[in-house]
């Protein structure tokens, strides 16, 4: 158990764990344990999501004083959902070839995978025991000139764990997962780099937010969740959204803040988003405009540096599925800027992680009646015309 406020240590701890898509158990266990002291209960669901609940606390009573906090029309406590993904890019063993070489496939859709991010990388194969291995690259001596700069197909790659075939077959089965073996490390400039530097930092931020929220009374319910299979269509978040928004009244009192990773300006990405300039607050169809506005107001009020990020389509976060789950949820997206996302050298600025946690915690603590009222189904004044009723021969209701 780390000392209170040690966000940086937590970031390294989470980023060092292996959370392959669909088999996030180790990360889920760590997150559950870290959240437990600050929430009422924490559990797991059928998809492997970690879901932690904390009831509203106003003064010393639980749930009382809603009308004071939110106005006379609010009869149920608002519910704030804060989510971050548990998993990291990963592969799955598809076949064991003669010689003990492991053929693999991406977990989930193959489209969009950059094979170059796995070429020549040290990896861990999660078999009966974790095995260290590598995805080899063929040296220039044996490659024809014409193909030296052509990215190989994923089917042509394999993992070598350096054991004989019999030993491999005893330790590895088809369906075992493979993750990059590059634990986090600090760099100059206050940066953290590693295969899950951004993802691990976001989970640490989630714990930090929980820690801050638990330190003061709050009039709304909180649900903090680590979602499974984020790299696979956000399937975990879809199930979570389906549960939280199944009922229209539950959906109406729920708003979600989704933590994600923004692509900062870097070679090959033309963007004005920068590491060290603060978290990004996303604007676009995937985000409820009132929540976007409230986050900016919070950042200004608490003097937290932030950056604006425009998303013309759906964001790459679970907000894309949460917004349309069940009866629909109001969503906001706050992201930590990162370079080289999804690769072994994913890099974030630690100061951005701290600011992100401060921003979201301050927003959550400051949730007030105006925002909540803005998200309720808003009734608009109406009146049936007499003409309609005459025509229909109907008595008005």
């Amino acid at each position: 158990m780390t000392a209170a406020g040690d966000l940086s240590v937590d970031s390294i701890r989470f980023a060092a764990l292996d959370g392959p898509t669909g088999a996030e158990g180790v990360v889920a266990d760590a997150l559950s344990a870290a959240l437990a002291p600050f929430v009422d209960r924490v559990g797991r669901d059928a998809l492997g999501n970690v879901i932690a609940y904390r009831r509203a606390r106003i003064g010393n009573a639980t749930g009382a004083g809603l009308s004071t906090a939110f106005g006379p029309d609010v009869v149920a406590a608002p519910r704030l959902l804060i989510v971050a993904p548990l998993d990291e890019p990963s592969m799955i063993v598809a076949r064991i070839d003669p010689g003990g070489f492991l053929r693999f496939r991406p977990i989930g859709p193959a489209a969009g995978i950059d094979v170059r991010a796995w070429l020549g990388q040290p990896v861990t194969v999660h078999g009966r025991r974790p095995l260290a291995g590598a995805i080899g690259t063929r040296p220039p001596h044996v490659l024809e000139l014409a193909v030296r700069d052509v990215t190989p197909e994923i089917d042509a790659l394999f993992v070598d764990v350096g054991l004989g075939e019999a030993d491999v077959r005893a330790a590895v089965a088809i369906g075992d997962t493979v993750t990059l073996r590059r634990p986090p490390e600090r760099m100059a400039g206050g940066r953290l780099t590693g295969k899950a530097a951004a993802g691990g930092s976001l989970l640490a931020a989630l714990v930090e937010i929980a820690r801050r929220l638990a330190g003061a009374p709050h009039p709304c319910d909180f649900v903090l969740a680590g979602t499974a299979q984020g790299a696979f269509g956000h399937r975990g978040a879809a199930a979570l959204g389906g549960a939280l928004a199944a009922d229209a009244s539950d959906a109406a009192r729920t708003l979600a803040v989704v933590l994600g990773m923004a692509s900062a300006g870097q070679r090959g990405v033309d963007s004005t988003i920068a590491l060290g300039a603060g978290p990004t607050i996303v604007r676009g169809p995937n985000v409820h405009p009132r929540l976007h506005g409230a986050l900016i107001a919070t950042a200004k009020r608490h003097e937290i540096p932030y950056q604006l990020e425009a998303a013309p389509g759906m964001t790459r976060t679970s907000a894309s599925v949460l917004q349309v789950a069940g009866a629909g949820l109001a969503c906001a997206v706050v992201q930590v800027p990162a370079r080289y996302g999804g690769t072994a050298v994913e890099t974030v600025a630690e100061v951005d992680v701290a600011r992100l946690a401060r921003l979201v915690a301050a927003f959550a603590a400051g949730l007030d009646g105006e925002i909540v009222a803005a998200l309720q189904p808003a009734l608009i004044a109406v009146g049936s015309t007499a003409a309609d009723d005459r025509a229909a021969g109907k008595v008005t209701s």
Binding site: D247, A310, P377, L379, I380
Partner: protein
Amino acid sequence: MSGRNVGDVEPALPYGGDGLDWALLAALSDARGVSGDEGRVRDIVAAAVAPHVDELWTDAIGNLYARKRGDRVAAVATTDLRGVGRPDAGANEPGSPAARSSEPAVPPLMVCAHLDEVGLMVVDIDGDGMARLAAVGGVLGAAVVGQRVRIGADGVVGVVGLPPAHATTDAVRARLPALEELRIDLGVTTRDAALALVQPGDGAIWDTATVDLGPTLLGKAMDDRAGCWALAMLLRSRYPMDIVGVFSVQEEAGTRGAGPAAHRLAPSAAFVLECGTTDDTPKDRDDTPVMRVGDGPAITVMDSSMVADVRLVRHLVATAEREAIRHQIRAPKGGGTDGGKIHLARRGVPTAVVSAPCRYLHGPQALVSKHDLAGMVALVRAALESWSPDIVAPIPFDRPGSPHSLNREVAP
């Protein structure tokens, strides 16, 4: 191959078309409302329908719901479709009994049209004050070069430039640029000056004022303000059963608003009013026009998002024939609508789509025919007035052991 153009259709509008409010359609088409930023359009629609409906509300994603109670359905207590004001302590956790959905006592019919239009978004500002843009929905660079646009809530003027022809080569002119290569010129020269006018995330849309050409209208957002307009016209009548008109959001960004709306309402059936693309202008292959402007409202049997419920299709066709409304069947080629999400809500919703044919969709100058629009309103109104729950009664089958006589009439 189209051998007939809209000018050849009789100019007078049958089906009682005189009561239709074309000015409202023009106002709706002119209003700026790119996916995610539909507020202005929603306001115009709300003001137009408010005098005619019993309940009007919005939800968290921005859909507008207009409820019209039926006049033949007995007044029973209906649950709160809006979904507010029900204190359910313990309803936090998924899986708890209180979290299971309870459905309205009397499932209404849902009639849906989408408020949003395709357009652009300002994503960043360069150092020289030019704005980078991205598409919201399906927009190609071809529809954007050389166009004037209006940006943000205030409608700031911008232009997407095109160099004069004499300054370009054949090779350059032969290529249509991708959106990422284009910039909006706001008339300023620095980033700070630009940020005083627009913000990243602002929507941008063509500066087109609707023109009434007589038998047709030319505007920028007939898709789907024509559908919204038709729904507004329909909400002026009363029907035997409850109707909820849903003006949905973000259809063009992936049919996002309609799914949650259908989940919330759990309707007994749904009709989607769309504006559909035609391929009825001259081309060199004898292939489908998908639908034709001037041939009346088009009924979908299948598109890429949905197989239309065959019972609703039969009801629409029978209604059209009975009321002598010229109509057409949309060829099952591509295309997706809100119906794609509506029909899969909860246990499934029998859904049909009626479209007004439109030329030059997803561009700054889209063309629709008043005859087709009047026909769409007349057809759907008559279909709703002659609605019966038996139309979507469960498909019968025989229990094992009883004489084999499956009712093939209603089996899809």
